[in-house]
């Protein structure tokens, strides 16, 4: 085994491979940081190039793009409140307030440290725990998914700000909006126009709801231009701060690994889940959403933790867990390799090469993050009155280019106005978005579960996994309501 690993190491550690991975990471970080351009886009764009490359470098390129873009999403989330990918939505909740306080560098550093840690732990789990995790993942059927996603939805309580009630209203709006378009049996819901038959995509809703209200707020209220000079020494994460968030980072990585390993869940849900957990258990829970480093740590460790882990079902079972691993499966097949249990017997050399390459790319991610940070930090020196219109411009181009659709651009602008109105009514936007992303998974799995059980609702409590989550849901909901009641009592007193 050792000789195999050594020979694989030699095969990977060529300067061509390092160059490919570095290019992938850098490309990913930049694409992820541009609003509207997503990791999926980066990976699909690179796919045709891999037709002409050797198998292992081509997969490593795609993995590097995936990792880079997942981290890159946090850069724009922090600096301009425009999550490049949905999985960075929670990062924006704490990162943007920090940037407004002049601590953008600190937030970016924390995002990088937790991303790299999550990524590294995720790679190790891929190498050592792939088989058991894959077996666990296969046991997750519709009832288990439903319970798991319902539990993830409880994060809504953590991102509701001042009013839990309005947070839940916001989540209901998100759940409702997500039902538009073709449902899983093929009937169209809320198809007012032909375009609506396809439903609303995540990117325009996400970016419209987060980034554009900032511009409208600036235009309508013209709040005094903030010119917070970045204080010296406030750009680094201190040892104490890192250690204080370490628990959230490790838990976030764990959540990322498990959620990533289950096909169909992916980094966004993992990041929400981890953020909600950290908010509930942290002693700084009250400060979440107002610029808490631990919030960034929880969200970023989980989304990068999920990245490597989405390779677990792909490599161990041959099933892609999300769109990006779907593209990777395509790349494998184009290369004449078939992921799955057989891969470990027939192509163990390539598998080791892949593992080693992935570990190396963690290191490269750290380097790329550090180097691009300087470049990106200048963004916070641009006056708001110029920066937010430029963000709008970037969003228009980015969103249009995803599927060449003016409908998406229209949705982007409408959601911007909706987001601003929600802000006026004190309805928080984050629960809307979380519900919008989790909603379809909850509904589809509920309907699947009931179809399999032929209408018997007890199917939702048919296995130990579902019991565990049912108990957790009851516990968390009870706790949240009790907290809310005591809060409203102190308020009234």
């Amino acid at each position: 085994m050792l000789t195999e690993i050594l020979s694989a190491f030699q095969a990977v550690a060529t300067w061509q491979n390092l160059l490919i991975m570095t290019a992938g990471i850098w490309g990913g970080v930049i694409v992820g940081a541009i609003p509207g351009m997503t990791g999926t886009m980066a990976v699909t764009l690179a796919l045709p190039f891999t037709f002409y490359m050797a198998p292992v470098p081509s997969i490593l390129l795609l993995v590097a793009l995936y990792k880079g873009s997942t981290y890159g999403g946090s850069v724009s989330a922090i600096l301009i409140k425009t999550p490049g990918t949905a999985s960075a939505a929670c990062t924006a909740l704490d990162g943007y307030p920090l940037a407004q306080q002049g601590k953008a560098g600190k937030a970016l550093n924390m995002a990088l440290y937790s991303s790299v840690t999550g990524d590294f732990i995720s790679n190790l789990s891929l190498i050592f725990l792939a088989a058991p995790l894959a077996i666990l993942a296969l046991r997750v059927g519709p009832p288990e998914y439903f319970m798991l996603m319902l539990f993830a939805l409880s994060t809504v309580a953590g991102v509701s700000g001042n009013s839990l009630l309005l947070g839940v209203v916001s989540a209901s709006l998100g759940l409702l909006l997500a039902t538009a378009g073709e449902d899983l049996y093929g009937s169209f819901r809320f198809a007012f126009t032909d375009d609506m038959q396809a439903g609303l995509s995540v990117a325009p809703v996400l970016i419209g709801l987060f980034a554009l209200p900032e511009l409208i707020k600036l235009i309508v209220f013209r709040a005094a231009n903030r010119d917070v000079a970045a204080k010296l020494g406030d750009q680094q994460v201190t040892r104490a701060e890192f250690m204080g968030s370490l628990k959230s980072i490790l838990r976030g990585s764990g959540i990322g690994v498990i959620m990533g390993a289950i096909p169909g869940i992916g980094p966004s849900a993992a990041a929400f889940f981890s953020y909600g957990e950290a908010q509930r258990s942290s002693k700084n829970g009250e400060n979440f959403g107002k610029g808490e480093l631990e919030g960034i740590a929880a969200s970023e460790s989980a989304n990068n933790g999920a990245c490597g882990a989405t390779m677990i079902p792909l490599l161990a079972l041959g099933v892609p867990g999300d769109v990006i691993t779907g593209v990777m499966l395509g790349a494998f097949m184009i290369q004449g390799l078939t992921p799955g249990p057989l891969l470990f017997q027939t192509n163990i050399h390539e598998v080791y090469m892949l593992f080693i390459g992935m570990l190396m790319s963690s290191v490269l991610l750290f380097g790329a993050g550090k180097m691009t940070m300087r470049m990106f930090s200048y963004v916070s020196h641009i006056p708001q009155t110029l920066l937010t219109p430029v963000v709008l411009l970037l969003c228009l181009f980015g969103i249009y280019s995803i599927s060449s659709s003016m409908f998406d651009v229209t949705i982007l602008l409408i959601m911007g106005v909706v987001g601003f109105l929600m802000f006026l009514m004190n309805i928080p936007a984050a629960p809307f978005l979380i519900a919008f992303i989790l909603g379809p998974m909850i509904e589809e799995n509920l309907r699947r579960a009931l179809a399999i059980s032929r209408g018997d609702p007890m199917v939702l409590l048919s296995s130990p996994i579902t019991w565990i989550f049912a108990v957790l849901i009851v516990f968390v909901v009870g706790l949240t309501i009790r907290r809310e009641i005591s809060k409203s009592k102190t308020r009234k007193a």
Partner: protein, 169 residues
């Protein structure tokens, strides 16, 4: 009499109830068809939207009750330049007008010119007057750079305008 009623939160509650009731009573019956072929025991397409909108109505009622009994969550104060609500409303109307104008204009003058106009308008509305040369440069050169970037890297073809097509954009 004790006027402990906060008008804002009450209106908000009413708005929430009205919205979800509209969805549940008008939109769902009209726009969520129930195909006959889905077997009887499998939940139909309208089950989930209906559940969510009924939840929404209940939540809205709780908000109303909260407003009537004075249990209202504190709202963070909004930073403003001190202008009147009327000024704010005018500015908001201007934003909506610009957005709508953009969507209407794209088929006529193309994506490039429309984005340039919208960006310029946004910078102007945001109150930027000092760096006007920079503002002009951003709104004119920005779209040109982005179009060349996206069309060379991604091969995206941006919509051309009916009026500007002869000029190639």
């Amino acid at each position: 009499m004790n006027f402990n009623i906060n008008r804002g939160p009450l209106l908000r509650g009413v708005a929430i109830v009205v919205f979800f009731a509209f969805v549940a009573l008008v939109l769902i019956p009209a726009y969520v068809p129930r195909p006959a072929f889905i077997p009887g025991f499998a939940p139909p397409p309208d089950m989930w939207p209906r559940t969510v909108s009924i939840t929404g109505i209940v939540l809205g009622l709780v908000v109303i009750v909260g407003a009537l009994t004075g249990r209202v969550a504190p709202q963070d104060p909004i930073d403003t330049d001190g202008g009147s609500s009327k000024t704010h409303l005018m500015r908001f109307a201007a934003v909506v007008l610009c957005f709508a104008g953009f969507i209407v204009l794209v088929p006529y003058i193309g994506f490039l010119l429309s984005t340039a106009l919208l960006t310029g308008a946004a910078i102007y509305l945001a109150g930027e007057r000092r760096h006007w040369i920079l503002a002009l440069a951003i709104s004119l050169l920005g779209p040109v750079l982005l179009i060349s970037f996206f069309s060379s890297v991604l091969g995206t073809q941006f919509p051309m305008g009916a009026l500007t097509k002869p000029f190639g954009f």
